[in-house]
Symmetry: C2
Subunit: 474 residues, 2 copies
């Protein structure tokens, strides 16, 4: 499907309409929002087979993978619907006044989280449902009371158009104003730039590359009124494998990590791209990892441009004399990504910061560390991450507490003896982390807490009951 | 006292030391942080008379005013100490795992708020204690587990040096590492710029002018790793006075608002600078307001540069043909600010956006509105504010709900029948608001919630009990 380019005037209109809708939608009752979110979920459910087939054609993601993602998308909508229904997410704080206090009366103060205003959402190429039209960002913004102007990802235009129809229809059925949700399209940088710099837009949710996220961040920081940008830009998700567990379970860990590394052609934000193993006892781990890589079927990537970037970074790493190619998938098909495994010593890895950057796709750099000290130096050198993982026996872990404490400074989520892929949608989840993993480490883009990206506190002082929001009465 | 210029190398050293201190201080137990905060409070209490005398000499703020502020400063430290002791501020979220869940086991996820890292704090000229060395920003950062590098306000250098000695001594007595708190000085823009662009600094708290706050925001947004800037830059704090209450209590309201407007030579962030009254029945209100203004003693301002800005803006407004001077304080003393009251029609006010800007000092623009519609247009035109106030009888308020709902979009705190000055330190307080009142409307700089400016979530997945932070065990 060709991408329709939304004109600049239409983008402005979408932003203005979203503001007009906001004047009503910000005051929508919890039950109206619940109805809207559940309607989207219901209408989505009816179109499951048709939409998965469209997305499969556009993204090459396999139907089973898309089916799981589709379910997750529906669950996320219901998750936010339940959050709104339950109600305490508004963080109501009531400090009753005391007119008799000396020397000054104590005012009655009541605080609530209030929607920020219209939100621009940029969909992800790798999640055509769960982080696109009505994915996590949109669900969180709508739950908060913010209309959404959605910028379609050029990687799956027809999917975007078809899901948009569903959301617009759900808004209509829920009796919500025109502009509560709308979609703009355009392959050029200008479309997104126009949208995020429109004065009516008050926040941005984005999932994509560092380059794209940073460009939007910069555009928003230089607005007359700067606005928050929540850009989730991925990371290398380092994994540290300590000596005793490597000795005991090297092959099993290799299979788990290699599977995590190559799933969906390595196109997950939390894909483990850098693994640091203790040199001693690493042979079986590397052998097994290489075996899985060689046996991994090659697969088409989401878009041509993503595939070209992957190929380019593979060539660049191969040309480096200090990095060895340990394995390449044997399955060769034109325009399909083949899994790669590279190996480097800690010293060479530390000497070349190109190697610290994400290579989006099914590849990894295996770094051999002589000892705990080299592991610490690698952890110290790496930039901000979504996740960091440590594998260890109880002995390993207890001897490497400084490493774990150092990783707290580097990542938004720390995992012991697991794989970073598979982001659970739960209140305690944090899908975020220090720059360049995201532009705002204070917020998650998955889970309940992600709603607070789109709210701000408002305090009501000495308000009579009849003027207070319902949540602050009494 | 002459300002010692901290060299650029010393600024870098302070930032590095703060980072080294952070590696220890981030893991300080609640009781260590409680001890530190309480020690600062105790040592401050002992030096009350001496420090107030120094601040009075440097800022011209009267001793009674400084005494109240001094008490508030001590109370803020104890307030954060109590918050840390109580412990739930860390927002622990525990989602226990379920290894039997199908198709995939549910991971154990536990989230906590974690300190961001070293924080740069810029002190306010108008609060030499409560928003300076160990004021609200510093207390919140230290409570969160972040070391502070304090940039002294050039308006009260000796006060800053003396209070710094107290904080450094308290850190020593509490057994905390060197660098947990340090101070840098310098009148030039370069001092602050060097500090906030140092890679070890992870957040900034600032109270001051729009120009200064925006410059810091811009410097931090263009860092390789952008960091959050919480700049509280003041506002005009509009007050809307509805017809029936104006008729019934015009004179009383005039006295309250004029006192609020001229207190401390008008040098409060929440000073009401724009008042909009219904034209009908406004005569008594204006007469009484003018009387208070004429009788207001003139007073020295905090610094020469603040006084010069105030004089300049008074001259600029006086030259405007469409604004009338309604009253000027009769007390004339060289280099002292005289209170001013201007009057403008709604139409003229709406036609001149110069008038919408803050004029820091004892002055106000009284806007006469013909009807509710003109009030709405003024509310719509005004930029973001810390506060917005409405005076009205029950009849007035019930007939002007759209105005109140519109003001929710414009301000961080809404007040009914009160004055905006006097910011209560309480959990429900919000001292913040949409730009240009602040650079980040999502956070307050007063009250419990202000601690979250200096934290980010960290999620621990499948951690064994012995590796979890205490708050996440069990």
């Amino acid at each position: 499907m060709a991408i329709v380019e939304t004109s600049l005037r239409e983008i402005d209109e979408a932003a203005e309409k979203a503001y007009t809708a906001f004047l009503t939608y910000r005051q929508a009752s919890p039950s109206q929002k619940v109805k809207f979110l559940n309607l989207i979920a219901e209408l989505l459910e009816r179109e499951r087979a048709r939409l998965i087939s469209i997305a499969n054609r556009e993204t090459f993601l396999p139907p089973e993978r898309l089916d799981g993602e589709y379910t997750r998308t529906i669950n996320q909508l219901r998750f936010f619907s339940d959050l709104v229904k339950e109600g305490t997410w508004v963080r109501a704080i009531i400090n009753k006044g005391d007119p008799t206090r000396k020397p000054l009366p104590k005012p009655d103060l009541r605080q609530i989280q209030y929607p920020l205003g219209p939100v621009a959402v940029f969909g992800a190429s790798n999640f055509p449902f769960a982080y696109s039209v009505c994915g996590g960002d949109t669900a969180a913004a709508l739950a908060a009371g913010c209309p959404v102007v959605y910028k379609a990802n050029p990687g799956h235009p027809e999917t975007s158009v078809e899901v948009t129809k569903i959301v617009v229809e759900a808004a209509r059925q829920a009796g919500l104003p025109d502009g509560t949700f709308s979609m703009v399209q355009g392959a050029s940088h200008e479309t997104g730039a126009r949208l995020v710099t429109h004065p009516r837009i008050k926040a941005v949710g984005f999932t994509g590359s560092l380059k794209g996220g940073r460009a939007i961040f910069d555009a928003c920081a230089t607005r007359e009124e700067p606005i928050p940008v929540y850009a989730e830009m991925g990371s290398t998700n380092p994994v540290f494998i300590l000596p005793e567990i490597l000795e005991q379970k090297g092959e099993e860990i290799a299979r788990l990590l290699a599977t995590s590394n190559t799933a969906s052609a390595g196109q997950f934000c939390t894909n483990p791209g850098i693994m640091v193993a203790n040199e001693k006892s690493s042979a079986k781990f590397y052998d097994e990892f290489a075996k899985v890589i060689r046996d991994t079927p090659s697969a088409p990537m989401l878009t041509n441009s993503i595939f070209n970037s992957f190929e380019k970074s593979m060539h660049e790493v191969m040309e480096k004399k200090k990095v060895q190619v340990a394995a390449v998938a044997s399955d060769e098909k034109s325009n399909n990504a083949r899994a790669h495994m590279f190996v480097s010593s800690a010293e060479n890895f530390l000497g070349d910061d190109d190697l610290w950057e994400e290579m989006f796709g099914p590849s990894s750099i295996q770094v051999t560390a002589k000892n705990s000290d080299e592991m610490m130096r690698i952890a110290e050198a790496l930039p901000g991450q979504l996740t960091a993982t440590v594998w260890g026996t109880e002995n390993d872990l207890k001897s490497n507490i400084p490493l774990i404490r150092l990783l707290e400074l580097k990542a938004g989520r720390l995992i012991i003896n697991g794989v970073p892929t598979g982001v659970e949608v739960a209140p305690a989840m944090n899908h975020g982390g220090p720059y360049p993993a995201t532009t705002d480490s204070k917020f998650t883009s998955v889970g309940t807490q992600s709603i607070y990206r789109f709210t701000r506190p408002v305090c009501y002082q000495n308000f009579p009951e009849y003027l207070l929001p319902d949540e602050l009465k009494g």
